[in-house]
């Protein structure tokens, strides 16, 4: 089980901000494929990876990073703070 978090318009498309996902995906990219296959709202959220960022255990990471040992995955658009 892994905690998956969504922010900003990713959260709005998925329809929730946080969920527990039972997965054996090896990488972030595998997890995205798994979720996108599951329901249309995920496919919509993950349609354009170029406009998405991912953090693993609260550190910015890449879509090819392995999920082994990771407890928290977060998806969000590029940050626009300040």
């Amino acid at each position: 089980m892994i905690d998956v978090l969504y922010f900003a318009w990713v959260r709005e498309r998925v329809g929730l901000g946080r969920e527990k996902v039972d997965t054996s995906a090896a990488t972030v990219r595998d997890l995205i494929a798994e979720l996108s296959a599951r329901e249309e709202r995920y496919a919509a959220a993950f349609a354009d990876l170029a406009s998405l960022r991912v953090a693993l255990d609260q550190e910015l990471s890449s879509f090819d990073a392995p999920l082994a040992g990771v407890r928290e995955v977060a998806f969000f658009p590029p940050m626009t703070g300040g």
């Binding site: 922010f7 900003a8 626009t80």
Partner: protein, 146 residues
């Protein structure tokens, strides 16, 4: 070094004075305050989302890096989240240093990083509806100078 990620507003003058009073031997104090622009009356409010935990970690790392790169006495960052009305303060950075060049550089560095590397997402609530603010190329480009 103090970081506050908060929904409450803050008072620029009060924060600046508290920050300055805590310094000893600093010759230069720079503050930057960001304010919600009303874009000529078309924007009524802004909603800022953050990632509790990661937001604090990311900003703390930026503040630590600023203190490594420049000779600073102290650094302060305040950043709000939640709904902010037009003309409300969004965030503030303050730096104290022996010399002005360090205080200015560190404040600009922190602003550039906060704009595009701190986990905050802004949604504009305008008279014509709401819209997520898109990341700007110029904000990304600003990072290359550091």
């Amino acid at each position: 070094m103090r970081l506050a990620v908060q929904s409450e507003t803050f008072d620029l003058g009060e924060e600046a004075n508290r920050f300055a009073a805590a310094q000893s031997g600093a010759g230069a104090i720079v503050t930057f305050t960001g304010i919600v622009r009303d874009n000529g009356g078309t924007l009524s409010a802004m909603e800022i989302e953050h990632y509790p935990g990661m937001t604090e970690r990311a900003i703390t790392a930026m503040m630590t890096e600023a203190q490594t790169r420049w000779a600073l006495h102290d650094v302060l960052v305040i950043h709000r989240y939640g709904r902010l009305d037009a003309n409300a303060p969004i965030m503030m950075v303050a730096t104290a240093a022996p010399h002005r060049a360090d205080a200015f550089s560190a404040a600009e560095f922190l602003m550039d990083y906060l704009k595009s590397r701190a986990p905050f997402w802004k949604k504009e609530i305008g008279v014509d509806g709401t819209e997520w603010v898109q990341a700007k190329d110029e904000d990304e480009a600003a990072l290359t100078r550091w």
